[in-house]
C-alpha cells in the first residue's frame, strides 16, 4: 500500500467478455481507523476533466461491490484502513493508454466531531476543517494506464 490515497497499483481497464467496459482504481482510507460504509459520503471522480458519479461508480470493499445507495444504508460492512477499496468505473472503451489526471473526493463522518462541524463538509471540496489524521476530502494523482 502507498501513502497516497489514490494507489498506483490496481489502475487498469476492465475487460468483460472480451470488451472493455470501464476501468478501476484503488483508494486507501487516509484515516487512522476504519469506518462503516454508511459513514462515507462518496463524491465524484474526475479523470482528465471527465466526471464520474454514483451512476458510474461502484465501490468494491472486501471483495463485494456496492453502489452509493447501498453504502448509505450499510452500517455493518467495515472498510479497514489497511485494505484499499477499488472504484469500479463504468466507461465503455475504458481509458486510453498513457497518463491520466485523476481526482476523487470522499468524506467520512467521525462521531466525535460535533455534527454542526461535519455538516459543513462536501466530499468534492477541500476539507473545511482539516486534520492530518483524517486526511483531505479530495485527492489527486497522475497515473499511467497500459
Amino acid at each position: 500500500m502507498e501513502k497516497q490515497v489514490i494507489q498506483s497499483t490496481g489502475f487498469r481497464n476492465i475487460v468483460e467478455n472480451g470488451e472493455v467496459t470501464g476501468f478501476q482504481v484503488k483508494i486507501r482510507l487516509p484515516y487512522y481507523r476504519g469506518v462503516y460504509l454508511s459513514q462515507i459520503k462518496a463524491g465524484h471522480l474526475i479523470v482528465d476533466g471527465e466526471t464520474f458519479g454514483e451512476n458510474e461508480i461502484m465501490w468494491r470493499v472486501n471483495g463485494e461491490d456496492y453502489t452509493y445507495a447501498d453504502m448509505k444504508k450499510d452500517c455493518h460492512t467495515h472498510w479497514h484502513p489497511m485494505e484499499p477499496a477499488t472504484l469500479i468505473v463504468r466507461k465503455p472503451g475504458g481509458l486510453a493508454q498513457g497518463y491520466h489526471d485523476l481526482s476523487y473526493g470522499f468524506y467520512c463522518t467521525h462521531s466525535y466531531m460535533p455534527p454542526a462541524m461535519e455538516a459543513l463538509e462536501d466530499p468534492d471540496k477541500p476539507s473545511v476543517v482539516y486534520f492530518v489524521e483524517f486526511g483531505q476530502n479530495v485527492n489527486s494523482r497522475r497515473l499511467l494506464i497500459v
Binding site: 500500500m1 501513502k3 487512522y32 481507523r33 476504519g34 469506518v35 462503516y36 454508511s38 459513514q39 459520503k41 448509505k72 444504508k73 452500517c75 467495515h78 479497514h80 484502513p81 489497511m82 463522518t109 462521531s111 466525535y112 466531531m113 460535533p114 455534527p115 486534520f131 492530518v132 489524521e133
Partner: protein, 290 residues
C-alpha cells in the same frame, strides 16, 4: 496468558501513537517488539485499526494476537473503540441499536483477553458532551460487562476538566448504579499547563490540578499518559508528570499508563514516533523507578 506482576502504576503503550506508520513502516509485530524494547508490558489497540478483518477476525488472527502477547510479555490492557451513534447519516442510532453494536465490541474485547475498554461515545457539542442517551446505552450493556469482566471507560480529554459537570455525571452514574463495570480513563492532556506558540487552545480550558485526580482514583481503571514534548533531559515540559505520577504511586493506584502521542508531526516525513515514545518511557521510568 502473560501477566505482569508489578503493582502500582505500570508502563504501557497506546498503539494509536503509531497511526502514521502502522501498515507502512511498522507491522503489528514491530509494535509489540518496540514495547519489549521499552520494557512496557501493557498495550492498547484501536479495534478498527489493529484488528484484521474487524469486527470479524479469524481464529488464526486471534491465535497470532495471543502468541504476540506471550512472545513480547505484553498484556492486553485497553480495547479502544467507538460507539458511533451517527454511523447512519440520516438519523441517530436508537439506544437498542447502539447497545447491540457495543455488545459486539465487548464480545470481541473479551475474546482478545481485554478487561478495560476505552469507550468513546459520540459527542454532540464543542465541549465534548456525550450523546444524551449515554446512560441508557451503558445501562443496557452492564449485565454483559459484568459477565465478561469488562470495565467500560470513557476517556476524559482536554478541554474537559476533572472538576467539570461531565465528570460529576459519570461519577454519579457509577454511585447510583453501584457498578464496577463503568469507570474512567484519564487522559493527561487535562493537566496540560503549557502550550506551544500559536497552538490552538480550546476556549475556556482550565488545566486540572494534579490533586484533582485523587477523589476519582477509585473509578480510574487506566490512564492515557498523554505527552507533548519530552526534552533532552527526559522531562515533559507541558504536563506536570512528576506530580501526577507521584500521586498515583502514593495512593497505590494500580493500573496502566498508556503512552499516547497525539502530535500531528508524527505524520511528517521521516518522523520516528518510536523514538519519541522511548523518551517518554525513560521519563516515566525515572519517576516510577521501574
Amino acid at each position: 496468558m502473560y501477566h505482569y506482576e508489578q503493582k502500582g502504576p505500570k508502563r504501557g503503550i497506546a498503539l494509536y501513537s503509531y497511526s502514521a506508520e502502522f501498515g507502512f513502516e511498522k507491522t503489528l509485530e514491530d509494535c509489540f517488539e518496540e514495547l519489549k524494547d521499552m520494557g512496557a508490558h501493557g498495550i492498547e489497540i484501536l479495534a478498527n485499526t489493529h484488528i484484521e478483518n474487524y469486527p470479524y477476525p479469524t481464529d488464526a488472527w486471534v491465535d497470532k494476537w495471543f502468541a504476540l502477547c506471550e512472545k513480547y510479555e505484553v498484556e492486553p490492557v485497553e480495547y479502544g473503540h467507538w460507539i458511533d451513534c451517527r454511523v447512519l447519516q440520516d438519523r441517530d442510532l436508537t439506544t437498542e441499536e447502539a447497545a447491540e453494536r457495543l455488545e459486539q465490541d465487548m464480545r470481541l474485547a473479551h475474546r482478545l483477553g481485554f478487561h478495560i475498554m476505552r469507550t468513546k461515545m459520540s459527542v454532540i457539542t464543542d465541549d465534548l458532551a456525550p450523546v444524551e442517551n449515554w446512560r441508557e446505552i451503558i445501562t443496557a450493556v452492564l449485565p454483559l460487562a459484568e459477565r465478561l469482566d469488562l470495565k467500560l471507560c470513557p476517556e476524559i480529554h482536554i478541554p474537559t476538566s476533572l472538576t467539570s459537570q461531565m465528570i460529576k455525571d459519570y461519577v454519579d452514574f457509577i454511585k447510583e448504579t453501584g457498578t464496577k463495570n463503568f469507570g474512567l480513563n484519564i487522559d493527561f492532556s487535562v493537566f496540560r499547563t503549557r502550550f506551544g506558540e500559536g497552538e490552538f487552545v480550546s476556549p475556556g480550558f482550565v488545566p486540572s490540578k494534579p490533586e484533582d485526580i485523587i477523589p476519582l482514583l477509585p473509578y480510574i481503571y487506566c490512564c492515557h499518559a498523554k505527552f507533548f514534548e519530552v526534552n533532552d533531559d527526559f522531562e515533559e515540559t507541558m504536563v506536570p508528570y512528576k506530580e501526577v505520577l507521584t500521586i498515583l504511586k502514593e495512593h497505590e493506584w494500580d493500573g496502566y499508563l498508556l503512552s499516547e502521542y497525539e502530535g500531528n508531526d508524527k505524520y511528517d516525513y521521516g518522523y520516528e514516533v518510536g523514538q519519541v515514545l522511548r523518551r517518554h518511557h525513560i521519563m516515566m521510568k525515572n519517576i516510577l523507578g521501574y
